[in-house]
């Protein structure tokens, strides 16, 4: 996509002057939607949770919903399990996807093409189907149990409805984009660097550590930011595969808003989620913008 941007010629001079307001008019509706349904809700959530109406009808600065969140055992447990899940998923994704990306970068032929197709396939499996498949394979009396039983081994302790359920599902779901982002980062590592290092006797590990890793550290951070943003507030997989208590922030927010009918509580949880993700979010947006701007 970005190569198209580089070819963009400056607009024709005569149209530039005459269509100035017309261009703004054409982009008005999508821009309005972004302001109304992205920027305004975020500001609204923050302002309504810190600037609240008290019992006498006066509006004032009031952090009590945050005080409640950070003193409530259940909320804190949910936050802890969310942070744990996000961290475990991020580490697992790197451990799984980096070798795949390295393999794909330095090989060519039909076998790597097959491996790449497999690594990208989860992108085209909706998470709802993934959840169903997970239960049929790893759930009680699922395919794994059937196979273990057939060779005379005991059943597994199923990860379904434990914190490991969402971890497995989310890692599966996030493999394609992580591999693609890492692969695109590895594309900028020139073969000459590696050949030069090998000529002076560096082994595979040293080549990876001293030549490849420093050049793809930015891509690793982008991949991590992207998965952290997605996993931290994921809903479908934790809701279907995770335990009822403690639950991740996604299902927690949904329950607070719709079942407990407590929008202030739900917005407080959302703002807490924003706070934990802000650095990743800004880093991610900056990287995408910089790539597009090039």
């Amino acid at each position: 996509m970005s190569e198209f941007v580089e070819r963009a010629a400056p607009p024709l001079a005569e149209t530039a002057a005459s269509r100035r307001p017309f261009g703004l008019l054409l982009v008005a509706i999508p821009v309005f939607l972004v302001i109304w349904l992205v920027i305004w809700p975020a500001i609204n959530a923050i302002s309504r949770t810190i600037w609240r109406v008290d019992a006498d009808g006066n509006t004032g600065f009031d952090l009590s919903s945050y005080a409640f969140f950070f003193s409530d055992r259940y909320s804190l447990d949910n936050l802890a399990v969310t942070l744990w899940t996000t961290m475990v998923c991020a580490v697992l994704l790197l451990v799984i996807c980096l070798p795949i990306a390295l393999y794909l970068r330095f090989s060519q032929g039909r076998l790597p093409a097959y491996v790449q197709a497999l690594a990208i396939l989860p992108m085209f499996v909706p998470s709802i189907i993934l959840a169903f498949a997970f239960i049929r394979v790893l759930g009680p009396n699922g395919m794994i149990d059937i196979l273990l039983n057939a060779v005379g081994l005991p059943k597994i302790r199923t990860p379904y409805l434990t914190p490991w359920g969402p971890v497995i599902g989310l890692v599966w779901d996030n493999i394609p984009l992580t591999v693609l982002i890492l692969l695109s980062g590895l594309g900028s590592v020139a073969n000459q660097f590696i050949e030069a290092a090998r000529d002076v006797g560096a082994n595979a590990f040293r080549v990876f550590w001293h030549i490849i890793l420093p050049r793809i550290s930015n891509s690793i951070l982008v991949a991590l930011s992207f998965s952290v943003l997605g996993i931290f507030s994921s809903f479908t997989l934790p809701y279907l595969l995770g335990p009822a208590s403690p639950e991740m922030l996604g299902p927690f927010m949904q329950r607070t808003l719709r079942d407990l009918q407590d929008p202030i509580g739900a917005m407080t949880q959302a703002v807490v989620a924003f706070g934990f993700c802000i650095l990743f979010g800004l880093f991610y947006v900056r990287s995408v913008a910089r790539n597009r701007g090039k």
Binding site: F4, A45, F226, A270
Partner: protein, 274 residues
């Protein structure tokens, strides 16, 4: 890392290992689901079903809730995609070709949604919809899904319009073609395939959109993915979910075929910031 030392003649052991492990972990679960969809009897602990058959296809497709959900999902996806194309494609053309104040900052404003954890943002939007009585309504879900398509439907077409050969357009203008005529005969045919891919991606993406539909639409709006959630939670007959999964996967498969042209060459990953 063994691939670095590998020479052409040796067997690609790491590749074979990756291929086997990924086949088991990624294709395996999908094969199990597909098997369930064509199973009539499969009792634990048999390794293969006792009886294959299409009985549950008839039963699943005969359920009114499945038909209602399918029709609603198709209607929602169509409305959202049409609206999105209607408002985004002119905007994309403006971003690609016209100069106006604040162009760059407005262009990158579509990234704003990606700076937040998605479900947190959905909850913040739902809190606003609560005040506007949009919760549980068709148009509430349309709005939330429309926002989800904006970035794709602007950024991909912008790239498509910018890739059109400007010299051909100028040549057409020189021989007296009107701007509309140039757009219709030169610009659109060149940008068309990529734009079509973006429209298709947004249709399929909307069809599978689960979280907004569940958060904003419940209980009145039951799309296919929302119906699937209730099947996973409450349905005792495993085959219903399996048949729905196979059915649900069809649009995704079409997207897979088309996405190959958009995704190729790592350009897609760069769009994600890689």
């Amino acid at each position: 890392m063994t691939s670095l030392t590998r020479t052409r003649s040796r067997i690609d052991w790491s590749g074979i290992a990756f291929a086997i492990v990924l086949t088991l972990l990624i294709v395996g679960p999908l094969v199990v689901v597909a098997t369930w969809a064509f199973t009539e009897v499969w009792r634990y602990p048999n390794i293969i079903p006792q009886k294959f058959g299409f009985r549950f296809w008839g039963q699943t497709l005969g359920r009114p809730d499945v038909w209602n959900a399918l029709m609603l999902s198709l209607k929602l996806s169509t409305v959202v995609t049409l609206l999105s194309a209607l408002i985004c494609l002119p905007a994309a053309y403006a971003f690609a070709r016209m100069k106006f104040p604040g162009r760059d900052i407005l262009f990158f404003s579509f990234l704003a949604g990606h700076a937040f954890p998605k479900f947190g943002l959905l909850v913040a939007i739902a809190a606003i919809f609560l005040q506007l009585n949009l919760i549980g309504t068709f148009w509430g879900v349309v709005l939330i899904q429309l926002v989800g398509t904006l970035m794709f439907m602007i950024w991909i077409p912008v790239a498509a319009f910018q890739a059109v050969d400007r010299r051909m357009e100028e040549a057409a203008r020189d021989v007296g073609a009107s701007p509309l005529r140039v757009f219709w005969s030169i610009t659109l045919p060149q940008a068309g395939p990529t734009i079509f891919a973006a429209v298709l991606l947004s249709f399929v993406g909307t069809f599978y959109e689960t979280e907004g539909a569940w958060l904003i639409g419940a209980p009145g709006i039951r799309t296919m993915p929302v119906l699937m959630i209730s099947y996973i939670n409450n349905q005792m007959v495993i085959q219903y979910g399996a048949v729905l999964s196979v059915l649900l996967w069809v649009p995704s498969f079409i997207a897979l075929m088309f996405a190959r042209r958009v995704i190729g060459g790592g350009a897609f990953a760069r769009g994600f910031g890689g």
